[in-house]
């Protein structure tokens, strides 16, 4: 079975660009986290936005760690390679999102139910002039949102080209950050107008968003670890590659019947193909040539084990329980 390079050269360039963008994201997020920390005050909405930015560090870190680890070639201790590293990193990030989001949601809703009013008073950040902390909060929120949306927009096409779900999920979270910042800003302005509940309501909205992100990512991470059939980058539908590979196999003159199953391993797909040959002539050569041909179909197909079988057992369609 010939081993392809994991990535063609042009994709590798995109990977380098993605890695650079993720480093920039991490540095920028750290600065936003520090700025938000200094303008937290006693606002629950600010706290939720701050926590969400801290959690926003986990996908870039997961991506960068996974990029290093999965490039390692398989060895005798890890004969299947290190592809699963991404899925594990992804799972951890999703669990963190879910758990912290749920906690902040509980915190915000209980503050709302206890009718807690948020105090926002004066600070003197630059020398002698006092300024209402709310203005600084709005400025910090704007700083934390606008670059994030821009970074998200830059990352998303890269994620599609690299077939990287972690990067894609990260870009989605970035692009949606305008909602978080907007909600927190409305919370602060609401407090300014004397609407005491604006703060906890905004915080609750933000934490629901965090929980939703966590849940979505958790589902994708679990599907990945359970070797679910490959889906397109935004998880909307099944990827057409397994069917394509099967059709290509069926077109070969020595193949009577074929079945293909693939699973996702980070960027790439791996799997098995079962073929029923018409006769046993030059089976090894035929299989080898077929393998070369199929791996050339799509850069994402990394490894395909072709096995001759007397008869195909087709998997059943998934029931409603799916």
């Amino acid at each position: 079975m010939a081993e392809h390079h994991e990535m063609p050269p042009d994709k590798h360039q995109k990977l380098v660009k993605a890695v650079r963008l993720e480093w920039i994201s991490i540095l920028y997020l750290l600065s936003a986290i520090v700025l938000l920390y200094f303008t937290l005050g006693s606002s629950q909405a600010m706290k939720a936005a701050w926590v969400e930015d801290i959690l926003g560090l986990t996908p870039p870190i997961a991506f960068l760690v996974a990029s290093r680890v999965r490039n390692r070639k398989p060895n005798d201790r890890f004969p299947y390679g290190y592809h699963r590293a991404t899925a594990i990193a992804y799972l951890c990030a999703a669990v963190a999102l879910l758990a912290l989001g749920a906690f902040i949601l509980y915190d915000s809703v209980s503050k709302l139910l206890k009718f807690e009013h948020a105090p926002i008073d004066l600070v003197k950040p630059f020398g002698d002039r006092p300024i209402w902390l709310g203005w600084l909060m709005l400025a910090a929120l704007a700083y934390s949102a606008v670059p994030q949306v821009v970074l998200g927009r830059l990352k998303q096409p890269l994620a599609r080209e690299l077939n990287d779900k972690v990067l894609y999920a990260d870009s989605e979270m970035n692009r949606a950050d305008w909602m978080t910042a907007g909600a927190a800003m409305l919370g602060v302005v609401g407090i300014g107008f004397g609407l005491w509940w604006a703060d906890s309501v905004a915080a609750s909205v933000i934490s629901v968003d965090i929980v939703r992100d966590g849940w979505k990512n958790l589902r994708v991470a679990v599907d990945d670890l359970m070797d679910k059939e490959p889906t397109v980058i935004d998880d909307a539908r099944a990827d057409p590659l397994p069917l394509w590979v099967k059709n290509e196999l069926m077109l070969l003159d020595w193949v009577k019947d074929a079945e293909v199953r693939l699973r996702e391993g980070g960027h790439v797909f791996l799997g098995e193909a079962f073929v029923v040959p018409v006769d046993n002539e030059d089976l090894v050569g035929r299989i080898d040539r077929a393998n070369q041909h199929l791996l050339d179909l799509d850069w994402r197909l990394h490894e395909l084990v072709i096995t001759p079988v007397p008869e195909i057992q087709r998997p059943e369609p998934a029931g409603e329980g799916g």
Partner: protein, 243 residues
């Protein structure tokens, strides 16, 4: 959800919030949820007081002291009359929480545990307890083994033992001690003719308490305190002279 569509709405939403904020800038932001400042202006300021010399005193039921003086001036600025209510800190904070009072003073400091229930102001004065010697004596390089008079019933003795090797001698009134090293509030150094040894035992940031969330009132009080914090040393001297 189609992210492209919602992302394109980002611009307009942020613009709307920015507009709202700008409008707010001209509209008396921040406001009180329960209109405390509006009610107090030209009306009555209900202030809770608990005695804590020299910040607040209650001689024969009459409020006096640095913070009382400041509150009276604040009320004058607002065209209000002060109604003083005395009680323990716990009672006053409970009343403040349900907005039965507008303000509580009593030598409160920034580390007060009541800040979970009341909105405390920025600190308007910071005072320190220092170890001092009579100005006729030179300041010692090291106070280890020095006998230092401390006020009984305060934390000064404990801090002295923890932080230094000096020996605390508890006395009833540390301002009556002559000819010995004392642990005393910094503003009393000039009055008592003492010299600072440079050893500082503790620091207190003084604040006042307002109802949680009444941000217009809080901000107005803070602006007053910032403008008048220069008066505090003079008020402290006056309070000391009156003793």
């Amino acid at each position: 959800m189609n992210q492209t569509r919602s992302s394109r709405r980002a611009g307009p939403l942020l613009a709307a919030v920015a507009l709202l904020a700008v409008l707010a800038a001209g509209c008396g932001i921040p406001r009180d949820p329960e209109s405390t400042l509006d009610r107090v202006r030209g009306g009555t300021l209900r202030a809770g007081i608990t005695a804590s010399e020299p910040w607040t005193t209650l001689e024969g039921g009459r409020p006096g002291g640095v913070e009382v003086e400041l509150v009276e001036r604040f009320a004058t600025e607002l065209g209000a009359r002060v109604e003083w209510v005395d009680g323990s800190e716990a009672d006053l904070m409970a009343a403040l929480e349900v907005r039965e009072l507008d303000l509580v003073v009593g030598g409160l400091t920034a580390d007060t545990p009541w800040q979970a229930k009341a909105a405390i102001t920025r600190s308007y004065a910071t005072t320190r307890v220092v170890v001092a010697v009579p100005s006729s004596q030179p300041a010692p390089d090291d106070i280890a083994g020095l006998r230092v008079a401390v006020e009984a019933g305060t934390d000064a003795a404990g801090i002295l033992e923890d932080k230094t090797d000096a020996i605390p001698v508890r006395v009833a009134d540390v301002t009556q001690v002559r000819g010995s090293a004392v642990a005393v509030e910094e503003w009393l150094l000039a009055d008592l003719d003492l010299r600072d040894t440079g050893v500082h035992l503790s620091r207190s940031k003084h604040v006042m308490a307002t109802p949680m969330g009444e941000n217009a009132f809080l901000v107005r009080l803070e602006r007053f305190l910032i403008a008048n914090q220069g008066e505090v040393p003079a008020l402290l001297d006056k309070a000391e002279a009156g003793r």
